[in-house]
């Protein structure tokens, strides 16, 4: 019996056993950072795991991926957050209106893939920055493994935004999420540390963004024509 229990413990530690509870056995709630999205927290065992590299696969850019990490960015303005190869300029007035301190958002544009990864690793290791957000083409297995190793040691949090992959190969990311859109932002969990993959579920991202007018799909074209240049729409 004892031997079996030890074996089970080993399996749990490897993350091979699905546990029917909110917080996995060997982790306490302090190991997780509240993502700001209760529905996501529930699926990830309490939030983003400290010391994790997370992959966010995006179908099209600028459709909620930054909103997903905004609560984290908003929470800490003491340390700089690093944005590696952002797809556009982080806009200071916009950042301010989201409650961020523009000066604490460091942008690093580095076309050389190796150097970009080096920079990310330096930021992780220095343990003096907050989040690390990186927009990169797909990383190979060795690169991810290395990043995850360093991140875990330094207990940092890293997000890699990348294109969708039809049949993703195995990578050492702690979480792999894919963003879809069906009336609102949907998160599909391709991989998580504590549990099986999950089909897309909605995320109430809209509370951080300008309100949308509800438009009936059939009326799509007509409505857009109805707005003229000087008509003020309140909403």
């Amino acid at each position: 019996m004892v031997a079996t229990a030890t074996n089970l413990q080993q399996l749990v530690q490897k993350g091979w056993v699905w546990q029917g509870q909110q917080t996995p056995l060997q982790k306490t709630s302090t190991d997780f950072l509240d993502s700001g999205w209760p529905e996501l927290n529930a699926q990830l065992g309490g939030g983003w795991l400290r010391g994790s590299v997370n992959e966010i696969q995006i179908e099209v850019g600028f459709r909620g991926e930054l909103g997903l990490v905004l609560p984290l960015l908003q929470r800490s303005n003491e340390r700089p957050h690093v944005w590696v190869n952002p797809p556009a300029q982080p806009y200071a007035p916009g950042l301010q209106s989201q409650g961020l301190v523009p000066q604490q958002q460091w942008c690093i544009q580095e076309a050389d893939h190796t150097k970009a990864l080096w920079a990310i690793e330096q930021c992780i290791q220095s343990q003096s920055v907050g989040l690390i957000l990186a927009w990169l083409p797909q990383l190979n297995a060795a690169q991810v493994r290395r990043l995850q190793q360093v991140t875990e040691q330094a207990q940092q949090l890293v997000f890699i935004f990348t294109d969708c992959q039809q049949e993703p190969e195995a990578r050492a990311y702690v979480n792999r999420l894919r963003l879809h859109w069906q009336d609102e932002l949907q998160i599909e969990v391709l991989k998580r540390r504590f549990g099986w993959p999950l089909p897309p579920f909605p995320c109430a991202l809209q509370r951080l963004l300008p309100e949308r007018r509800l438009v009936k799909k059939s009326a799509h074209n007509n409505t857009s024509h109805a707005v003229t240049g000087t008509t003020r729409l309140t909403l």
Binding site: R63, L66, Y91, A92
Partner: protein, 479 residues
């Protein structure tokens, strides 16, 4: 006579320049016979400095180049450079300044130390000698040193390559008495006159009374003896450390690339560390210069985001920085100059409300800037301007950042801005909010009148678009 105290120390380094060059060489190269030559009158170049290998091969100082090269056909010959040696002498003074405050340069190869007060501090000659010996190990030189009750006595002994360190003036006098008149430092004519009367050593001179010698040989000799005995001391000009650091190193052979310069760089940075450590200073930038045969020197300025003083840190950052650099021509010499020095505690008691800067953050910035470029880290900043693309700029990270102007919270602004507004097809977009008219800039060349909307595209993305006389444009994204 009874009040005499050995309060002076003289260090004589007869091979200063060559020893410095040897230190930069590899082991096997150092073993080769090498000499430095200097043109002397019309007799052709003569050997002024030589290494141990040349000595064993039978070469002597003052030997003509022709004789030397006949003795050792594969002798390595280089020209003696006076200015360079003067630099080295200053560097040596710099090194020893850590232990002795009163140092007088005695060009070309000597340093005079006033140690009377130091003896009290160290508790005697033995302790002082040990301390200086330890310090001199950092300098790769052969040297002779002697103590004396006058600067001249110490100098003559050291220059005669007699190393006598003693607290006892009697020992010094005895050693002086052994010196031949040729080592007296007197003019050749005066020496000749003394030799003519059979005075072949300094001892014979010291035995005679001042007045008798004065009557026979004139006032010069009595002055000389007064100076030697310490009855009269000419004023000394003591060395003062420079307010900046400059160090130049001779590479001795052409070096093709920056990575190959690391060895030399290490040594320079080690000296820089000693310099900074001795003054409790640190620096944020240094200027490397590589000197080429014919071309103008290549200059590389290296900035650090945080103050550094340790060789290890500086070397690491320099190496990262130099990875990006190309050495256009082979280098012959390398130098480091540091002009801006700062106190290590300067920031702790600064009155300015500097944004709290963690040392680790600054160190990270230094590393990133060193490898990726000085403008590697861009930081968005709010600007006081109504025009959207001027209301913000991406600026290079700097230590002290201006506080952001207050923002009107009712304004809806996207988190992303496109560097260049993109023309769009209006029919692909649904307008959800707007317009907000932004109009200004009449005072400069780019007046603009734009109506901004928040709109949604076919992929359900929220964009910030505007309409102006040129048409419809996409300017930013909200997530």
């Amino acid at each position: 006579m009874s009040a005499r105290v050995n309060g002076w120390l003289y260090v004589h380094a007869p091979y200063l320049l060559l020893d410095e060059q040897l230190a930069a060489q590899a082991e096997n190269e150092r073993e080769q016979p090498q000499v430095l030559l200097q043109q002397q009158g019309s007799t052709g170049p003569r050997v002024v400095q030589l290494n141990a290998a040349a000595q064993t091969a039978g070469i002597q100082r003052g030997m003509a180049m022709v004789t030397a090269t006949t003795l050792v056909p594969d002798l390595i010959c280089r020209d003696y450079q006076h200015n360079r040696e003067q630099w080295l002498l200053q560097q040596l003074a710099q090194l020893l300044y850590q232990d002795v405050a009163q140092i007088a340069l005695q060009p070309p190869q000597g340093l005079l130390f006033e140690v009377r007060s130091l003896l009290r501090l160290y508790g005697g000659w033995q302790a002082l000698q040990k301390q200086l010996q330890q310090r001199l190990q950092e300098a790769p030189i052969r040297y002779y040193w002697a103590s004396g009750y006058s600067p001249l006595a110490a100098r003559l002994l050291a220059q005669a390559e007699v190393s006598v360190l003693s607290a006892d003036p009697q020992v010094t006098t005895a050693a002086l008495a052994q010196l031949p008149i040729q080592a007296s430092g007197l003019e050749t004519r005066a020496q000749q006159r003394l030799l003519d009367v059979g005075m072949t050593t300094l001892g014979s001179l010291l035995q005679r009374s001042n007045s008798a010698l004065g009557a026979r040989f004139g006032k010069d000799i009595t002055h000389y003896l007064a100076e030697l005995r310490g009855d009269f001391s000419p004023p000394q000009r003591y060395y003062r450390p420079p307010a900046q650091f400059y160090q130049r190193i001779d590479l001795l052979s052409e070096v093709e690339s920056w990575p190959q310069l690391v060895f030399a760089l290490k040594r320079l940075l080690q000296q820089l560390e000693v310099f900074l450590q001795g003054r409790q200073l640190s620096t944020r930038n240094l200027r490397l210069q590589a000197y080429h045969r014919d071309q103008a020197p290549t200059v590389v300025v290296i900035q650090f985001a945080h103050a550094v003083w340790q060789q290890r840190d500086m070397l690491q950052l320099c190496q990262l920085h130099l990875e990006r650099q190309v050495l256009p021509f082979p280098a012959l010499e390398l130098s480091i100059r540091v002009r801006e020095l700062e106190n290590r505690q300067a920031h702790a008691n600064s009155l300015l409300p500097v944004q709290q800067e963690l040392p680790a953050v600054a160190a990270l910035v230094s590393r990133l800037q060193a490898r990726l470029g000085e403008h590697a880290i861009q930081v968005p900043q709010v600007q006081a301007d109504w025009r959207p693309e001027h209301a913000h700029c991406l600026a290079t990270w700097s230590r002290s950042q201006a506080a952001a102007p207050a923002l009107n919270p009712s304004q809806r602004r996207p988190v992303w801005l496109l560097p260049q507004a993109q023309p769009i097809d209006r029919r692909q977009w649904q307008l959800h909010w707007g317009p907000e008219r932004l109009q200004s800039g009449w005072w400069d060349d780019q007046p603009c009148v734009r109506d901004y909307f928040i709109a949604v595209d076919e992929f359900q993305r929220q964009g910030w678009i505007y309409h102006d006389p040129q048409g419809w444009f996409l300017h930013g994204w909200f997530s």
